[in-house]
């Protein structure tokens, strides 16, 4: 049988662990041995017991801010660049390739690179700001709780902007030239043509990019880990759900670590899956409406 090896590998190392990950959350744990079935008790504890009552909402808020920030910066910029690149047949491939470079690099490398570049003592970023006379801007960007989260957002947006450029580029290629040409002949301006003809046809691609950005933002782990460590320094300003999960599972040493952390994982899974399903439904309905 040709399918058997793949099924075995996938079943044992993906499906079975995914299933048990959800079941772990409904038991109480004594270290690594499973205790009684406790229903939703582990979930209730997440909302009633410290440190979760302070850390979980804070981390979730950061995930949401991260999602909104990357949507606004990375995907708007990406769409703009894709529109500019469209019809530049000669330079498009070259530029797309250049924009794509940063996202091949591991988020952990990117995170450490920026801690070095933003270092208050020898970082070239602050040195440059001082050089051009913006001395008051030469701040410890990652050391200040008010700016640290935005550094995470900006670094991530910088790394990933090439991705929406590619996807929107592919979607723009699928918009029939005849449509916009006809609109232009009828006297519509370039902006009107884009807004009323091209943009509605891009909605499915925008939807897909939004869903992917959402999943990505909810799962963020390596980049914040490199920029702020597993506790989300400074002062929890860059804490994310997956960091909280990691700390709960492997660093905090409570006897019910597996129960609590699995409850966090399950919650995160529900948020990701729920968000993706709802967004897909909305998108389908829109597609039916415009008849695409």
């Amino acid at each position: 049988m040709f399918v058997a090896p793949a099924l075995l590998l996938f079943g044992v190392f993906v499906l079975y662990p995914m299933g048990s990950a959800l079941s772990y959350a409904f038991f109480s744990w004594q270290g690594t041995s499973r205790g009684a079935f406790v229903g939703f008790e582990n979930f209730v504890a997440l909302f009633t017991q410290e440190p979760f009552t302070t850390q979980l909402p804070r981390a979730f808020g950061h995930n949401i801010a991260f999602f909104v920030g990357t949507m606004l910066i990375q995907n708007t910029l990406g769409l703009g660049i894709a529109v500019l690149l469209h019809r530049r047949a000669r330079t498009r491939r070259m530029l797309q390739t250049l924009y794509a470079m940063p996202y091949l690099v591991s988020p952990i490398v990117i995170g450490y690179l920026w801690t070095l570049l933003l270092s208050p003592t020898f970082g070239p970023v602050n040195a440059l700001l001082r050089q051009v006379g913006l001395k008051s801007w030469a701040l410890p960007w990652l050391g200040d709780p008010t700016t640290a989260l935005w550094v995470v957002v900006l670094v991530s947006a910088w790394q990933w902007v090439g991705f929406p450029v590619l996807l929107y580029g592919a979607a723009l290629g699928g918009v029939p030239e005849e449509l916009s040409e006809a609109a232009l002949v009828d006297g519509a301006s370039h902006w009107q043509t884009f807004r009323s003809i091209v943009f509605p046809l891009l909605v499915p691609a925008i939807g897909t990019v939004s869903i992917l950005t959402f999943i990505f933002a909810m799962e963020a782990f390596a980049l914040p880990y490199a920029l702020g460590g597993s506790t989300g320094n400074p002062a929890g300003a860059t804490d994310f759900i997956s960091l909280l999960f990691y700390r709960t599972a492997f660093e905090n040493g409570s006897t019910n670590a597996i129960g609590s952390s699995s409850a966090i994982a399950t919650l995160l899974f529900v948020v990701i899956f729920g968000g993706a399903v709802v967004a897909t439904k909305v998108l389908r309905r829109h597609q039916v409406r415009v008849g695409a």
Partner: protein, 305 residues
């Protein structure tokens, strides 16, 4: 991260990754007559942004060739005279030699294993029309949506049961399994495009299905296999959470976990830190230069509607 890239595929349904591009050619050629948006200003903006996107990476490389004292005295200086001490230091004292070998071993092993089993499965799924195979295919494809990192605890105990915690083999198996959905997704689409007459002819000539698969079918889907290989290599090489949790001794660390250790222990040897980052990125840059086409194809797989 891996699921992030793969999910569109699942939601967009199975569309062949490359062929629509070719069919769109005529429209594209005609479009060239219309002026690009933004004109010269647009071009300039695009190039300026491209430089901006690359400067941090160029700084990483250039600073790795400077000594720590010169980095301190002149943060914006040029990498001259070139200094290789940082690389020597990172490679031997910082154990990057070991990390690099481990990463290569795990990544190549995992990509090979998952590509081989996925190619076989994709062939069967593309050819058999029975109900059970349709269900199997949707089970595999649903894996594109699963955030596998959330299953880290059960995976840890599963590997513990096999005695595979703190083992490169265990890590490799997990990576191989996590690559199956994407690989099957891309390869099934390609196998479906091959005409069934090919196999009928081979059967008449007396080839059994095993020979036919390896000698005839696999060579025909080589471009898709290349896409899968390249596209699985990157997330596995870069992955951080699995080795962080599953590996315990330094001799077995992969590059990303080795980096965190290195940054903890040598936090003042800036020049070597930059060198470590370059070493962690080098194979990807080599891969990128060799296979830009496959990377672009993989990223837009299923999106090219």
């Amino acid at each position: 991260m891996t699921t992030t890239l793969q999910a569109p595929a699942a939601s967009a349904g199975p569309h062949p990754p490359t062929p629509p591009r070719a069919s769109r050619r005529p429209a594209g050629r005609r479009g060239r007559r219309t002026r690009p948006v933004g004109g010269l200003v647009g071009s300039t903006a695009l190039w300026i942004y491209a430089i901006g996107a690359l400067i941090p990476l160029l700084l990483m490389v250039s600073n790795s060739f400077r000594s720590t004292s010169s980095l301190y005295s002149d943060p914006l200086g040029a990498p001259w005279p070139i200094n290789f001490d940082s690389y020597r230091n990172a490679w031997t004292v910082g154990h990057f030699g070991e990390y690099f070998t481990n990463s290569l071993l795990v990544t190549i092993g995992a990509v090979t294993l998952s590509t081989v089993v996925s190619t076989m499965a994709a062939y069967a799924l593309a050819r058999c029309r029975s109900r059970i195979f349709t269900i199997l295919e949707s089970v595999f494809i649903s894996g594109l949506m699963l955030p596998i990192h959330l299953a880290i605890l059960p995976i840890f105990y599963l590997l513990d049961g096999f005695g595979l915690v703190d083992s490169r083999l265990g890590l490799m198996l997990v990576y191989a399994a996590s690559g199956v959905p994407f690989s099957i997704f891309v390869l099934t689409v390609f196998f479906r495009q091959l005409p069934p007459e090919l196999e009928e002819a081979a059967k008449i000539d007396g080839a059994n299905s095993w020979v036919m698969f390896w000698r005839i079918m696999v060579p025909l889907v080589r471009p898709a296999v290349a896409t899968v290989v390249v596209f699985r290599f990157v997330p596995i090489w870069n992955d951080f959470l699995f080795p962080l949790v599953l590996l315990r001794t330094r001799e077995k660390y992969t590059v990303p976990v080795g980096l965190t250790t290195f940054f903890g222990e040598y936090s003042t040897d800036w020049s070597s830190l930059f060198a470590g980052l370059v070493i962690a990125t080098l194979p990807l840059i080599v891969l990128f230069l060799l296979a830009t086409k496959q990377i672009v194809a993989g990223l837009t797989a299923g999106m090219s509607k």
